[in-house]
């Protein structure tokens, strides 16, 4: 076991495309939970419709990639409206239940047998990235970077675009939150009734935040489809949402850079524990466990991290503890 190469690999994944995609989706979740106080436990549903917007447009209907992005974002808009209309007038826990159920039902519908002509069923869709790769300014075959921190041209292109989108969305978050709109949004998180008594239409503001965060989540889904060049419905299991929650809480909810920092820290930890477990395994220190168990242990570790974070440091790395004392209203 080589601890230095594990560390190097962890750093590589902390800066890599997957971390960027999760950071983007967590920026969306930050809009929901961090600023508006909406308990969205179904962010993966937005990612799913985004990814399938690209997938179905490109693979089934042979449309250009940009149209695919548009379709994905449109689907996310519709999903947000469908979720928001019945639940946003109610207490926060109803939204939590509805979103977690809706995301799982979406996955089941997309993988169902009758949807196979369009979504490819359990096998998903393939060959989605050619349109994106023709725009690639880097050479797909060569490796760029120094030492262990090297990515091949195609991955570097996804990485640059996704981190660029993250930067754009982080900038948007900063600007919105320093505008009158952002102050109303934060006011809703702190005390909904007070905002309502000032004559603001709380429902409309919540809906706008839900749509905006959902669109950013769908964007992350689109980039996931482009990065992998193929999508399967079972990638969009509810645990993706829980990863996003850990990322958000680890970085600091209600902070502009919280999701970015959280995504980097989270993927560093994930790759590090994976490397460590495999290293211990190859040294024979884990006699009771076999290869597939490592993944399960990692997920249990994610759950434990969620519990420990909430109990001992709800504000995450850079958050403000006072902002995290919100409650169900």
């Amino acid at each position: 076991m080589d601890i230095l190469s594990i560390l190097a690999e962890s750093t590589r994944s902390a800066l890599g495309p997957i971390a960027a995609i999760y950071a983007l989706a967590a920026v969306g979740l930050n809009f929901h939970f961090g600023y508006t106080g909406l308990l969205n436990f179904g962010q993966v549903g937005f990612m799913l419709v985004g990814a399938y917007g690209v997938g179905v447009s490109v693979a089934v209907f042979d449309l250009p990639l940009l149209v695919g992005f548009g379709v994905g974002l449109l689907c996310a808009l519709v999903l947000a409206l469908l979720l928001g209309v019945p639940t946003l007038r109610l207490r926060a826990d109803y939204l939590a239940i509805t979103t977690i159920a809706a995301a799982e039902v979406l996955r089941l519908v997309y993988r169902a047998g009758f949807a196979e002509p369009v979504t490819g069923g359990v096998y998903g869709l393939q060959n989605l990235a050619s349109g994106f790769r023709t725009l690639n300014p880097f050479d797909g075959g060569t490796r760029y970077g120094v030492g262990a921190l090297a990515y091949n041209g195609n991955h570097l292109w996804v990485l640059v675009v996704t981190w660029g989108l993250v930067a754009l969305m982080v900038g948007l978050t900063w600007m919105l939150m320093h505008s009158p709109w952002g102050r109303v949004i934060k006011g809703i998180r702190e005390d909904e009734d007070a905002v309502r008594s000032l004559g603001k239409n709380v429902f409309a503001y919540k809906m706008q935040a839900l749509v905006l965060g959902g669109l950013i989540g769908a964007m992350a889904g689109c980039m996931l489809a482009v990065y992998q060049a193929s999508i399967q419905p079972d990638q969009f299991k509810p645990q993706v949402t829980f990863f996003l929650w850990v990322i958000l809480l680890l970085g600091g909810a209600g902070r502009v850079f919280g999701p970015v920092l959280g995504a980097m820290a989270f993927w560093f930890l994930m790759t590090f524990t994976d490397g460590l477990l495999k290293g211990f395994g190859s040294l024979g220190w884990l006699p009771f466990l076999s290869g597939p168990d490592y993944g399960a242990i990692q997920l249990a570790f994610v759950g434990l991290l969620l519990v420990v974070l909430i109990v001992f440091r709800p504000q995450g790395i850079i958050g403000d503890r006072k902002e995290m004392l919100i409650n169900v209203k």
Partner: protein
């Protein structure tokens, strides 16, 4: 402090830059490979084991792989290029053939780019193919039913394929009642816990899985693992009981020491039993195993309340934070179950093939009748408990208004402990009943959780009777929707019912109007 941090970071960055690239690319993350999963066409949650896949570069064999028990395979490649992939037709089970399309005659060419871990889709199908229509309608129907059981864990009756609309309606109503009763038994705990603590327990589904798994272990033979679990839960149970009954009779240090002695005694005993392994193997019939599972589920629920939720409440952790903690606990519980019991799918032995009993138009295996009987008896029992006993009345009082109950002299913490114990036991029982109809696997509880949510919202969050009514309604709607719509959409219809309820009567059927603000 800060300079030290910067130094460490700089050292780390230098180290990473100095490590030569190939060392990292030799790791799993870099490098090229082909991978995929071959699924059973009848039941797409199950893989097909033992299919050989060989990769050639021109005529040279590069590598070979074989699918594991989940149907997963992976072949490492030396570098980018075009490869020929050959599926070993001999190793494909005789009832299936490889679907033509991407793969022609078991062979295909793939182009792999640098650093690409490329998935390759190999699909199996029944001989005869999907497009030549030679499969008889009845066969397709039964395939549909099989797929439904795999995808949505429908409690689909085996005999719903034939018959007129009326017959299918009656048959599905019976199946819906059965499904609804199982949902109701599992969901009462969820609703009561919400009522007493205002918290949604996202880990409830995994408590259901726990019950099903434990019953499976004890009915098929408890060796090291089962005995160890039993010992740990006995220790926890003794500790919780000590806390519940002797809290005011013993001095605090004595109590704490006694509790921790019980817990550590349980763990020590578990270690000893685990080391002894199969030497103390035993097994009991399923009904006894179910009783053990219910007891252990109750201990699980009560100890979660005692050692997680009560301390959190006393720290004044906000409700939203509690939701997130319960999601974290659900993840921990689900994956600990996965590590302990494995990802395999199994059924309770001896209850699968039974001759159906005819009741007029309805045919049901005796197993389902027993499940329905047990569920009805338990539901009536719980209703009596809530309506007529002292502790039941206290539970309803706390559920109604926690502060008022506390100020009128009810020991709210103790009532909450009982509620968690009751909820845990009922969810474990629900797991056993669900497992009798379905396959026992580590994600079954999460799937049921969605139906439970629909049930409790439909009936009214926080009311035990609402969960019963809602469970029955959700079960019936889910089953009857398969009359007109694909069975994969069952859950979607249950959810649609829930959303409809939220639109027109958000407090649920039996809820009170003021609660939802």
């Amino acid at each position: 402090m800060r300079t030290r941090l910067v130094t460490v970071l700089l050292a780390l960055i230098t180290a990473i830059l100095v490590i030569p690239g190939p060392a990292a690319t030799a790791d799993e993350q870099g490098g090229e490979s082909l991978h995929g999963q071959i699924l059973n066409p009848d039941d797409r949650d199950q893989g097909v084991e033992g299919i050989g896949i060989t990769v050639f570069d021109g005529e040279d064999e590069i590598g070979a792989g074989e699918t594991d028990s989940d149907g997963m395979w992976e072949v490492e490649l030396p570098g980018p290029g075009t490869y020929r992939v050959v599926v070993d037709q001999e190793s494909v089970p005789s009832e299936f053939v490889v679907r033509e399309g991407i793969i022609v005659d078991g062979e295909t060419e793939v182009e792999v780019e640098a650093d690409d871990q490329r998935p390759l889709i190999i699909a199996l199908e029944r001989p005869g193919g999907s497009d030549d229509g030679s499969a008889s309608p009845s066969e397709e129907e039964s395939e549909d039913a099989g797929a439904a059981a795999g995808d949505d864990e429908a409690v689909a009756p085996a005999a719903d394929s034939g018959g007129s609309f009326g017959e299918r309606f009656v048959q599905l109503t019976a199946a819906g009642l059965l499904f609804g009763l199982v949902i109701a038994v599992s969901a009462i705990g969820l609703s009561l816990i919400f009522g007493t603590t205002k918290m949604i327990n996202f880990a409830h589904g995994d408590m259901v899985t726990f019950g099903a798994m434990v019953a499976l272990v004890f009915s098929t033979g408890a060796a090291g693992l089962g005995n160890s679990l039993l010992a740990i839960f006995a220790g926890l149970g003794v500790a919780v009981l000590l806390g519940g009954f002797l809290e005011n009779r013993l001095s605090r240090p004595v109590l704490v020491i006694a509790q921790w002695t019980a817990i550590f005694g349980g763990i020590a005993l578990a270690t000893v039993l685990g080391v002894m392994g199969d030497a103390v193997g035993w097994s009991v019939p399923l009904w006894l195993a179910a009783a053990v599972a219910v007891l252990m589920g109750a201990v699980l629920g009560a100890s979660m309340e005692r050692y997680v939720w009560r301390p959190l409440r006393h720290r004044n952790v906000a409700l939203i934070q509690m939701f997130i903690v319960s999601i974290g606990l659900a993840l921990v519980l689900r994956h600990v179950i996965l590590v302990l019991f494995g990802a395999g799918r199994s059924r309770y032995a001896g209850y699968q093939i039974q001759d159906p009993v005819q009741f007029g138009p309805v045919a049901m295996p005796p197993r389902d009748l027993v499940v329905m009987g047990v569920a009805v008896v338990v539901l009536v029992g719980v209703a009596c408990l809530l309506q007529f006993t002292r502790i039941g009345k206290a539970m309803r009082a706390v559920s109604d208004n926690r502060d008022l109950a506390e100020s009128s002299g009810i020991d709210v913490d103790r009532v909450t402990l009982y509620v968690w114990g009751l909820g845990g036991g009922l969810s474990a029982l629900g797991g056993v009943l669900y497992g009798l109809n379905q396959i026992v696997e580590y994600e079954m509880g999460f799937r049921l959780l969605l139906m439970m949510f629909a049930a409790v919202i439909l009936g009214g969050l926080g009311t035990a009777y609402g969960a019963m009514v809602g469970g029955l309604a959700v079960g019936l709607v889910a089953m009857l929707s398969t009359l007109w719509f694909p069975s994969q959409l069952m859950q979607a219809w249950a959810l649609a019912l829930m959303i409809l309820m939220l639109l027109i009567r958000p407090q649920g059927l039996l809820g009170r109007r003021e609660r939802v603000g």
